[in-house]
Symmetry: C3
Subunit: 358 residues, 3 copies
Amino acid sequence: MFQIQQLAKEIEKRSEGRLVSHLHAGAESVSVSRFAPISHAQAEHVAFLAQSKYRDAAKNCQAGVIVVTQADFDAMYEGGDVSRPVIVTENPYAWFAWAMQIMTERPLGEGRIDPRACVHEGAVIAPSAVIEANAVIEKGAVIGERVHVYPGTYVGEGTRVGDDSILYANVTVYHGCTLGRRVILHSGCVIGADGFGFAPFKGEWVKIPQVGGVTLGDDVEIGANTTIDRGALEDTVVGRGSKLDNQIQLGHNDKIGECTVMAACTGVAGSTSIGSHCMIGGAANINGHISIPDMAVVGPATTITHWDPSTKQMFGIYPAQDRAASQKSAVMVMRLGEMRQKIRALEAQVEALTKNEE
Amino acid sequence: MFQIQQLAKEIEKRSEGRLVSHLHAGAESVSVSRFAPISHAQAEHVAFLAQSKYRDAAKNCQAGVIVVTQADFDAMYEGGDVSRPVIVTENPYAWFAWAMQIMTERPLGEGRIDPRACVHEGAVIAPSAVIEANAVIEKGAVIGERVHVYPGTYVGEGTRVGDDSILYANVTVYHGCTLGRRVILHSGCVIGADGFGFAPFKGEWVKIPQVGGVTLGDDVEIGANTTIDRGALEDTVVGRGSKLDNQIQLGHNDKIGECTVMAACTGVAGSTSIGSHCMIGGAANINGHISIPDMAVVGPATTITHWDPSTKQMFGIYPAQDRAASQKSAVMVMRLGEMRQKIRALEAQVEALTKNEE
Amino acid sequence: MFQIQQLAKEIEKRSEGRLVSHLHAGAESVSVSRFAPISHAQAEHVAFLAQSKYRDAAKNCQAGVIVVTQADFDAMYEGGDVSRPVIVTENPYAWFAWAMQIMTERPLGEGRIDPRACVHEGAVIAPSAVIEANAVIEKGAVIGERVHVYPGTYVGEGTRVGDDSILYANVTVYHGCTLGRRVILHSGCVIGADGFGFAPFKGEWVKIPQVGGVTLGDDVEIGANTTIDRGALEDTVVGRGSKLDNQIQLGHNDKIGECTVMAACTGVAGSTSIGSHCMIGGAANINGHISIPDMAVVGPATTITHWDPSTKQMFGIYPAQDRAASQKSAVMVMRLGEMRQKIRALEAQVEALTKNEE
């Protein structure tokens, strides 16, 4: 069971004082086992109000305590008696997220290096880090405090992993990369493979060594089987607080700003920069050498070949239809030129007819 | 060499009595080394007739024995003498598939745990399972009978793997997942990484722990480097007999029905359900929170943003053309509004002209 | 420091005599530490001229030596005194690529098998090969001279790896595959997983064993998390000198020619052939059973459902627009049939009006 007062204090701490909880009607003495939806919650649960339209349901629900905004609280109780324990906070959804973290996290335990891990004698492992069996840490790598490296994960020569990071099983980080603090790398992701660089020579391709690295800022999370190539000369960079979903590809020398989110299966070709606080849809395809501004939104399944400076949101989703209708649309798209010709011919004819009338 | 009679018996058994072989003209005493195409088959080969238009070729081919349907058999021999060994069966292609399985499979051998595997003392390994070198099986994991875990594969805490499953090299299954019987996981696939869930808070993203798991039904096959995220609260599910190709992404809380096939590079965002017996084309992009009915077909490279309930087949393939024509089409698609305006203007003018005529 | 004369000699050797350097004005006695851009280069740097428009900048730059074509050299010095060390060569970009290789490569060191590697006693490892910790080499595998197998990489039974190849960490190569010389496999790539082949039987899918392999020619490079499936009966093939970027999928029995480049996230369904010297854009989707000729170009994010024999370049990029405009375009694409009807009606009306006029 988790005491609400303890949770509130810990959330305030994790948010660096930015998410404060106001406890009403005895909320401070409630303890809960877990979250439950408003509709199912019982006395041992905490529930949160995500949308104001469910205010009545929240007011009457069986939860031991509910989390609401000040506006919802005011509307629910209108200054009258608060009939049940309530937590008022600026952002109940973030409160839920942090509370869930606190309620589900498991202690890392004491620092240890499994005897079946392969740690080079020239690597530096912080005493509180945990290196599991079959992990491989190469020469000159630096592993920070409380880092957890799962089995089968490879950390290349000279790569630095910041404090409190988690590298799940079967992750690969090549040499010469820099990971910030609290970075999470999911299984199968590959950080720092060679960028795709070749010089054409008489019909063949001569490999250009990629001597940059990859830098991931603090609080970056990288999804399963995502690949981020090392830079040709300078680093490929993902800024602080950005989150990349699974199966994403970043090419060499891409620069992603801070707190940008990118949904699964998106590919970004090389030397493109994407700003901070952007939202990039799943399965988007972004060409190389493009600059996308801060706060931009890219639609899912959208191909970006340039950025239109007059907008912050670019979409290019083309519709799926019934099979027969879709085939017709596809054929017609190829005949658009013909259609335009016909319209022009009609315009000329109608103009002539109109003139004759006059 | 494989005796046809033995093969027929074993196929009947594997199909649970549903695929029966009728042997004609001495087929029961034929033995073959392998399959060969009708055009190349020799006496030591078995061939099967995939399309009726090749009946004559099949009739005259050199194969030791041929596999045909009753309809093809009747047309080929019209009640007359059957001049060569023939197997008549309802589905020669399925007969071929099962026969190939029997002809190519290699015995697993006795159960064993390689001394270089890392098996937690709190894991339960069936005596007939084979755990190869460098595989890692965590605490509380349960590995069924005759399961084969290849090198470098990771099975997380409390995950259950059903009998006769195969986990190829360098697979990752996170904690708390459930795999049915005869599941096949190809290399590099990642089952149970965190779903992509974050609460926005003052421009940052607060991670929401993903406490559901992944459930894969019996006879599910998952391709190389495919990723299936764990659910936020409840499990992500792939139903019995469904087959997923390589490089597919399933988001948290997706539900895939039974015997659905999904071709490579397809991405499905979270909380989408796809029915049973569906066929999903390669490189399709399916948005989140969509419900796709049983027996549905999604075209390749098709983006699904909603499901049209009046159809079972949705396609959205947009054509590739010669480079110049394609650029023209792209520009014209952006001018469709203009074209429609012009048509409306023409309609008004022509209506006016027609009225004047009258 | 690297002596220019030595570099020139080594480049000539690596290019098999095809890239010759002509040294002017004392270039033969210059030594450099590394490459730098023309704009920043100092005396210890070598710079190369990529585009003729920067001739003046090159002429006046501070680099210890510059690499230029004969045409640029002639234009810069017009037969007059060459005022600074210059290297004249047919292809400065290829010169840069090879020089970078020479300047950055590190000696492999003596052949060794890490005691924590798992090498089957029936595998054949060349004496100069390096097999790192946790690599697994199965029975009958053959590893050539100077091959470098990184940790966590799996080489299946009977697979052959040609001389001077590099298999980075956590690569998987299934059994029965053949890799040429100087092949590079990046982390997470999976070579030889089963092709996606199933026979439909009463609503279920019967697995068809995939008994072909994968053949990669000399000098093939495969990107991180790329997957190449084994053939159903014959091998899937990637020809000599072809380069595949990350997250690519090749289906069973695909045949890729020589010196073809394929950008990231592209998927090719089974039984498709792509010629030599092709350039395939990123995130392209190529259907199965298609034949693409030599020297072809496929645009990025382009879906190929057939190949138009009248062209060498097929594109199908559909534009992203401002969100509102994009939604309008999407709706209009579905109404193209209606637009065509309206145009036809207008044509008929205008024809009638015109006839009446006459």
